[in-house]
Structure formats: C-alpha cells, structure tokens
Amino acid sequence: MTPLDLLSDYTLRSILLGSALLGLVAGTLGTFSVLRRQSLIGDTVAHAALPGICAAFLLTGTRDTLGLLLGGGISGLAASLLALAILRYSRLKEDAALGVTFSAFFGIGIAMLTAIGQSGNAAQAGLDKFLFGQAAALTQGDVIRFALLGALALGTAALLHKELKVTLFDPDFARVQGWPVPGLTALSTALTVLAVMIGLQTVGVVLMAAMLIAPAVAARQWTRSLSGMLGLAGAFGALSGALGAGLSLGVSSGAGSLPTGAVTVLAATALAVLSLLAAPRRGVLAELVRQRRVRARLLRELNSGGQA
C-alpha cells in the first residue's frame, strides 16, 4: 500500500479523515478539562456511556449507531453532571467524584450488558465493540456526521470563548459579571461529552481518555495563551489521529493487525512526551541548559569575585 492509496481509496480516506477529525475535536475540547484539573472526565464519560448504550438498544431493538450514541451521550452527560453535583454538594474531591460516578455507571452497564446477553438477542453481539472501538468500520456517512457534530461543538466553544475562558480562570469574576457559572461549566462538560461520543466508536472507552489529555499536555508546552493552546491541541490531536490511522492501515497487511485506536493514542502520547522534553521554554532540556548556564555564570562570578 502506498501513501497515495490512503488518499484515493474511498474506505481508507474515510478512516483517515474520521480519525483526524476525532483528534481535532477531542484535542481542542480536552484543553478545558485538563486546565480544570478534570482530565479524567473523559474516562468517566466514556465508561458511563455503557448503560445508555444498553438502554438505547433495549428500547429500539437495533444497533443503529446514532441511537446508541444518543443513549450513550445521555448517560455520559448524566454521569458528568452527577460528578459536578458531588463536587458542589460534598467535600469530596475531583478524583473521588469521577471515580464514584464512573464505577457505578459502568457496573450498571455491565449488568445490563449481561442481562441482554442472556436474553439471546443476536444483535447484541456488536454492543461491546463500543468498548474497544473499531476505526476500520468508519464509513463516509460517519465522517460527515463527525464533521457536523464536531463543527457544532467547536462552534459553540468559539462563540462562548470569552465566557468559558473567564469561568475557567476566574470563576469569582465571572459570577460578579452575572454569568451563570454552573451553567457554563456544565456546558463545557457537555461539549466534552460530545467529543467522547464522536470518539467512542473509533478508539474505544479506555483510549478515549487519552485523546482529550495528551494533545492538551503537548500544546501547553509551546504556548502561554488559551487560544494558542486550543489551536495547537486541536492540531496535535488531528496529527495523532492521521498518524494512527495511517500507520495502522499501512502495517496491517502483515501477519497481525495494528488497532487504529491504540496506535493513535501512542502517537498522541509520543507527541506529548516529545513536547515535555524539547519545547523551547517549558521543556526539560531547555531547563537543563538554563541551569547549566546559570551555574557557569555563578562560578565565573565567584572566581572573578575571589580575585578582586
């Protein structure tokens, strides 16, 4: 397979475009949750989608993707709002609030999944694909849907950029301005839920968490402004998605196949590690160089001071 095939082949192009779009949306929106110290909200939402997916299946009796994603989105949103409520009404911290909601929702989802399995319905076989993701199944229709949902999520974030920014960095000021702070927080969480729903089918539950976090961590290394970070995180996410899809499709002609989701996540992680090490101002290497320079100057001054 040549790189040209990737661009001309209808199926391959869908997979490549879909993965890049997912990375773009997840990377951009993940910036908010990473800055809010709720990085793992993606993990919560992705796990908590399971009971909703099962409920949607029980109600409709089909594996229609849109219905399942809608069900998953509703239960994911319910879980994340519950986590926000726990934070507001108790002394428990982010990690406990997220952990409680996702393990309870996921547990109920597993119970529903086994109950559906025992009912012997043939169509249930595909439900667990949502847990592990399957980029190879992406169609052009999926890509169009991703693009529409992604545009909706990113457009909302862009329209409310100022409000979201102030709510994030200075909630007290936002409150004084008379803005609905809990509402704005819930809205940015809802956008994250949307991003997770877009990615669930492609990279699966566990790996979706990484697509929100890794691009944002990488972007933070290169910029000090929120808009710069949002843009860079989106770009890093899209790059990881494209790399993941390209690599997995390029290699899978061999004995085994490389799962797209896992390769995408490793690509995003590699970008983050590289940025942590090599970014100009905040990078580990830059820090070492700086320390060495300071030490040399100090030594020089001590020496010349001794002579004077």
Binding site: Q38, A96, G99, G107, L266
Partner: protein, 294 residues
C-alpha cells in the same frame, strides 16, 4: 490421596470472596481517596494489561495465574512511578499525568495482544470484567477456593498494614509536613500504600475483574466520608458498606440473572447516592435553622 473439597456452598464462596475483596480494597481505598489518588486504582487496573501479556509471553503461552499477577503488579508499579515522575517535573498536574500514563500502557498492551495473540483466546473481557461466578470451581490448598486464599491473604496483609501503621498513615495523609518533621517518611508510607494498592488491584481482578476492584476501592470510602469526619468511623463505615453491597448485590444479581460484579457496583452507587442525598437534606435543614435562629 487428594483431600476432598470442603462441602462449601456456592453462594457462600461467592459472597465471602466479594466481602474479602471489598474489605481488602476499602481499607486502602479510604487513604487513597483522602490523598486525592482515588483514580490510581482505575489506572493500575488498565495498565496491568501489558504485564499480563508479558506474563503470558514469558511462560510460553499458558494462562498461568502467577506470572500474570507478577507482570501485572510490576506494570502497576511502573504506572505509579511514571505518574510520580511526570507530576514531580512540575509540567503536568497529577490528574493529567495519570491520564497520560495508563492509556499509553493499555494501548501498548492492546497492540501486543493483536500483533501476537490475535488468534489466541487471551480475553480482554475476562481481564476487565472478571467472573466471580467461577470462583467456586477453582480450589487450591485444603480444598479452599483459590480466590479465598488469595484475597484472604491480601486482606490480612492490608489489615496488618493499616492496623500497625494507623497513626503514621493518618499523619502522613493529613499533614505530610508534620509527619516529616516527626521523623516518619511520608514518601515511604505513601510508596508502601501504593505498592499494596497495585498488588491488591491485580490480585482482586483475577477473582472479580477490574470493574469491581475500582468500585470497591473508591465508592465505599467516598460514601463513608460523606457520613463522618472521623477516620476510625470512616474505616468502619467503609467495611460496612462493602459488606452490605456484596450481600444485597449478589441477591439482586441472582434474581435478575445479571452480572454479579456489575450489580454489586450498582448497589455501591445507590448507597453513595442515598448518603449524598441525606447529606444535602441535612445541610439544608442546618442552614434553615441557622437563618431562623439568626
């Protein structure tokens, strides 16, 4: 002559296994939640996958329990170490560091499975869900269930750890600075705690699956901390919540013919929700009285 298996009732084996896991996890989980490290249990349960694959590879493709446990525990410690390294670099907050490490390790595990064992039944579902219903069929020493030996042992170790080092644990959790001044190393105690968490997580998901381990580690302690501010009472409430959820969850799961671990996790969630609602009502009443009195 092999000893005849003890005439143990299936229900008893399963419920006692669940309670062992609940208590072994809850004892450590309370301190994890207090230290804001609750999600480490989730992270470890996922990043253990490459360790399980490595154990499988080293033994030349047999699903032996011991090598898998050793490999998984090692990767649990790798997770803890890498997360600490990233956090200490000061460039990433603790939650993002964790979220960077465990999906990457899990992804590496998924790739290793699909490259080498795509035609072998190395079941991801079995690793993640576990199946407590099979515990009565696996018996070991004295004809006792393997899950009892493993989790009973883990419970004993954890109980000794928390019992003997209660004062030190409490101090290093609430006031690491003072603890250091008094000559206890909070880093050492924290390290020991996280090592036990890694071992317990891995040992437990052989018996009951990752879902329930994480649920037992986080939810009962969180519920207890809603109800009391005293550490000893919280410890007692954690154990009580784990016990009742195991018994009620098992009964309900039998009635519904659904996953036992899933239903127990659900019951834990219900317990938490009731406690949260109770606390909210009480807070409102106190506030109401304060305004009336004022």
């Amino acid at each position: 002559m092999t000893p005849a298996p003890l005439p143990l009732n299936f229900d008893l084996v399963i419920v006692v296994t669940a309670v062992f896991v609940a208590w072994a996890c809850g004892l450590l989980g309370l301190f994890l939640v207090l230290r804001r490290e609750a999600l480490l249990s989730d992270a470890i349960s996922h990043s253990a996958l490459p360790g399980i694959v490595a154990g499988y590879w080293v033994t030349g493709g047999s699903l032996a329990t011991m090598p898998a446990l050793v490999g998984a525990s090692l990767f649990g410690l790798v997770t803890v170490g890498l997360t600490a390294l990233l956090t200490r670099s000061g460039r990433v907050k603790a939650d993002a560091a964790l979220g960077l490490v465990f999906p990457a390790l899990f992804a590496a595990g998924v790739i290793a499975v699909s490259l080498n064992y795509s035609n072998v039944h190395l079941d991801l579902d079995a690793v993640l869900y576990g199946e407590i219903a099979y515990t009565p069929f696996r018996t070991g020493w004295l004809g006792l269930p393997v899950a009892w030996l493993l989790m009973g042992g883990m419970l004993l170790v954890n109980a000794l750890f928390v019992g003997l080092l209660f004062k030190e644990l409490r101090l290093s959790t609430f006031d690491p600075g003072l603890s250091r001044t008094l000559g206890f190393s909070p880093a050492l105690i924290g390290g020991a705690l996280l090592t036990l968490v890694a071992l317990t997580t891995v040992a437990a998901f052989d018996a009951v699956g990752a879902v329930l381990v994480v649920a037992f580690m986080i939810v009962p302690p969180a519920t207890a901390l809603l109800l009391t501010r005293r550490l000893r009472q919280a410890l007692g409430l954690t154990l009580l919540a784990g016990l009742t959820a195991s018994v009620v969850g098992y009964t309900v799961a039998l009635a519904l013919d659904a996953s036992i671990t899933g239903v127990i996790a659900g019951v834990l969630g219900v317990q938490f929700t009731v406690a949260l609602a109770g606390q909210a009502v009480r807070a409102r009443r106190v506030r109401g009285r304060a305004t009336l009195g004022g």
